[in-house]
């Protein structure tokens, strides 16, 4: 194992981890306000599909902006269903995942892509219309720092979204724990009826955090596709949204701890792939593939068991719709 190999594993660890980090940041806010967004995976897929199409049509910037809008829309739908209509968050969340998986699955058909791309940008050349991959976001090497052995590659040789997600985690931690906005969000998730009695608009807070979680999930999907693995296939995110859900619990709903958790998950996954290349630890490739679903079952058990919830300090009203008692 050469130094280059280690450097590469570390760099990929952070890049892989960023997928989880972005998705979990929004989810942390939603869950802190008491809403479980189980549609993360579907929203990521929509983000990935959107970024795929728009990168081809107009380039990276448009891809990121449109995936944010698509995420906000998915979040808005979810918020109407679970916050305003007070439907079961687990059921609706899974439905959102299916919706996202189904819609994004359309882009697997070449004719669909071709038609859509021509509508988006009629001047696209013929050869772009049918390709299954997009251009990756450029890496930005930070001068000098990126030359430091081992950690240079790990921390200072990434695309913009990676740096952005890192800084954002710290900012979102600060907002959640040190500002009035954060206090309001946390209080709504702990005791919405108390927040209501102090004049907080519980529904508005929850709508906003759910939309935010949609935006971040979609952005995570876009990052995954154009920043990490720009080759399209159906279900391209492969259950990573579900892993991000488990990460939120592991991070005990703190954006700071989510950084560590995300890179840990990223590291495990990267290492696993690398070892397979060496023919080492040659477990069945299905092992990784089933991991998201096992984690999801565990997440659901944790979130729906009152005693576990209390012990690990989950937001007290997580998963419970709020209605003013009459």
């Amino acid at each position: 194992m050469s130094i280059e190999w280690i450097e590469q594993v570390l760099q990929l660890t952070v890049q892989m981890g960023t997928v989880y980090l972005l998705a979990s940041l929004g989810e942390i806010y939603a869950e802190r306000s008491g809403v479980l967004n189980l549609g993360l995976e579907g929203m990521m897929l929509m983000g990935a599909a959107t970024s795929f199409m728009f990168t081809l049509a107009y380039g990276h910037l448009s891809a990121i902006l449109t995936s944010i809008i698509v995420g906000a829309l998915m979040g808005l739908i979810l918020s109407i269903l679970v916050v305003d209509m007070k439907l079961n968050q687990v059921v609706v969340g899974l439905a959102m995942t299916m919706l996202g998986a189904g819609l994004s699955g359309f882009f697997t058909f070449p004719e669909v892509r071709k038609n859509l791309l021509l509508r988006l940008n009629p001047s696209l050349p013929e050869e772009v219309l049918l390709i299954q991959q997009a251009q990756k976001l450029p890496e930005i090497q930070i001068p000098l720092l990126s030359n430091i052995p081992v950690i240079g590659k790990m921390f200072f040789s990434h695309n913009l979204l990676v740096y952005f997600s890192f800084i954002l985690s710290i900012a979102m931690w600060f907002i959640l724990f040190k500002t009035r906005i954060g206090l309001t969000i946390r209080s709504v998730g702990e005791n919405p009826s108390m927040a209501d009695s102090l004049g907080v608009n519980v529904y508005m807070v929850r709508r906003m955090t759910v939309i935010l979680s949609g935006v971040f999930a979609s952005l995570a999907g876009a990052y995954f596709f154009i920043g990490f693995h720009p080759f399209w296939r159906e279900g391209v995110t492969a259950g990573r949204g579900f892993i991000a859900l488990a990460l939120v619990i592991l991070a005990t709903w703190s954006p700071m701890r989510a950084i560590l958790g995300a890179y840990l998950f990223g590291g495990v996954e990267t290492f696993q792939y690398r070892l397979q290349l060496f023919g080492l630890g040659a477990q069945s490739p299905y092992f990784l593939a089933m991991l998201p679903y096992i984690l999801t079952i565990m997440t659901l058990i944790i979130i729906s068991t009152e005693s576990i919830k209390k012990r690990i300090g989950a937001p007290a009203s997580l998963g419970i719709p709020y209605a003013r008692e009459e």
């Binding site: 209080s187 209501d196 009695s197 004049g199």
Partner: protein, 509 residues
């Protein structure tokens, strides 16, 4: 005197009920105004209207002489109205400071913890309270939590304070501190509305009193110009007898012996640390204590609903600890759960179904497979008559019954000896009168006493010290998962009981 609040002609309907029927109410500057009535009289509804949680169907609200629209608590807060709800609205995992400033703009976008902490401390000290703004709410006693609730309002410069049964979770000492502080606030010119159903509190604290019954205001009087029995008559609609006739108990044989009982609560904390208690047949043992000191866990362990982690429950020389509820029912242990609507009945099933929810699998009501509905129906009619359940229709949905009738239904199911046609050897009654009106409360008391004199042992858990002293033959004080002391009513005065409930060790003979 200056009027702070005037509610005029308030009408509020809920599906099927009129909660407030043309209610008018005034609050003056500097007064403590008691709002008295039984549960369901419409006091809380009226105050929720003033606080913007509900909107009146008809009626006008004036604050300091100006007509106002209050559409949400936010509007109420802006008008200087603050409310302490019946159950604490606090977040245990947040600090005192965080609980107080929630929703306040003046706390700054980035919260100015140090400055606000000082302000809160000073405010608390001006009422003689010592509160650490950075303490977590879960670390506080009930009395301190009540103070945080008040600070929440005072920090918003409220002039009109609504307190909904603020003493229900306090020890007598904590009560006294609260009442002193309220006096102080009234002297500063604030108006205080004190909702209660306890007559003695009216006389301990209020300047004026308004009595409500069935959604209407019956009378408003200067407190000094009325007396207990007059108010009680208004409240209930008939003269009330304050004492209960009770024959001397003649304990005979053990109903159950609890030894070194230990159990965890839902949070995984040891809630029963070492409970030792004996309940004899033919006697009522009352358990009092501040809510949350293990009473709930104790009754659940006896009923087989919670696993004990140690100790024993001995019935006829056999340890029945951690037996299944079925086994416990067959031993003749009856359980009257707290909050009947949540734990005691299936609301969408009929009265008949609910009455036979235990007995349906025993003879003669079934042969183990097929239920004999004819027998059940006849017996149900009999029980409805005996326990005076209204409506008298066995096919009425349990959901449609009032709180008092639900409790009668549960008593009928638990006590009537449907299983084996005998009376229970032990009746575990957890807060059986909580939330009931005076009539239903009387019925529960009478029924429990009657069964205790017929031979049942009764474990009676109550939040109300006076109630427990009145109907029990022996009283056990519970604190922090242990029985602190057992005595006969009258042996210990109420101040000492309060100290015991608060966990203060006292030596006495």
């Amino acid at each position: 005197m200056e009027e702070l609040v005037s509610l005029r002609g308030i009408i509020k309907h809920f599906p099927g009920v009129i909660a407030n029927d043309n209610v008018s109410f005034t609050l003056r500057k500097g007064e403590i105004h008691a709002l008295l009535g039984e549960n369901g009289a419409g006091k809380t509804t009226l105050m929720n209207i003033l606080y913007g949680l509900y909107r009146p169907d008809i009626g006008e609200i004036y604050v300091e002489g100006r007509k106002v629209e209050i559409n949400s608590p936010k509007d109420a807060i802006t008008l200087g109205i603050g409310m302490v709800h019946q159950n604490f609205k606090l977040i245990p995992s947040h600090t005192v400071l965080e609980n107080i400033i929630l929703g306040l703009k003046k706390s700054g976008l980035v919260i100015k913890s140090r400055k606000i902490g000082e302000e809160i401390k000073k405010l608390a000290e001006s009422y003689g309270w010592r509160i650490n703004p950075n303490a977590y709410v879960w670390q506080l006693t009930a009395g301190e939590k009540q103070q945080v609730e008040l600070l929440k309002i005072l920090y918003r410069d409220a002039k009109i304070l609504i307190l909904d049964e603020p003493t229900s979770v306090l020890t007598p000492q904590e009560c006294r501190i609260l009442l002193q502080a309220l006096r102080r606030m009234a002297k500063e010119g604030k108006g205080i509305i004190f909702i209660t159903h306890k007559l003695d509190e009216v006389f301990a604290i209020s300047d004026r009193v308004t009595v409500m019954r069935k959604g209407r205001v019956l009378v408003t009087k200067e407190t000094s110009e009325t007396n207990m029995s007059e108010l009680a008559q208004y409240m209930v609609g008939r003269p009330v007898i304050f004492t209960i006739e009770k024959k001397e108990s003649r304990p005979s044989g053990e109903a159950i012996t609890i030894k070194n009982l230990k159990a965890f609560n839902d949070k995984g904390v040891l809630a029963l640390k070492d409970v030792n208690l004996k309940v004899m047949k033919n006697e009522i043992v009352g358990i009092i204590g501040v809510t949350g000191n293990g009473q709930q866990e104790l009754v659940e362990v006896i009923a087989g609903l919670r696993k004990a982690s140690g100790g024993s429950l001995i019935v006829d020389g056999v340890n029945i600890i951690n037996s299944s509820p079925e086994k416990i029912i067959e031993l003749g242990i009856a359980y009257i759960p707290p909050e009947p609507l949540r734990y005691g009945i299936a609301p969408n099933l009929t009265v008949l179904d609910n009455l036979f929810m235990k007995a349906y699998r025993y003879k003669p009501y079934s042969n183990g497979v097929i239920v004999n509905w004819k027998k059940i129906y006849n017996k149900a009619e009999e029980l409805i008559r005996e326990f005076q359940i209204v409506p008298e229709n066995p096919y009425a949905k349990a959901r449609s019954l009032s709180g008092g009738n639900l409790q009668r239904l549960i008593l009928a199911r638990e006590l009537s000896g449907l299983i084996g046609e005998k009376i229970p050897r032990l009746i575990v009654a957890a807060y059986p009168t909580k939330g009931l009106d005076v009539g239903a409360t009387e019925f529960v008391h009478k029924t429990l006493i009657e069964y205790s004199r017929k031979g049942s042992g009764i474990l009676f858990v109550s939040e109300d010290i006076e109630e427990a002293l009145m109907i029990s033959d022996r009283v056990a004080v519970m604190h922090d998962g242990k029985i602190v002391r057992v005595f006969r009513p009258g042996e210990v005065d109420i101040d000492k009981i309060g100290l015991m409930m608060a966990g203060v060790e006292i030596a006495f003979k």
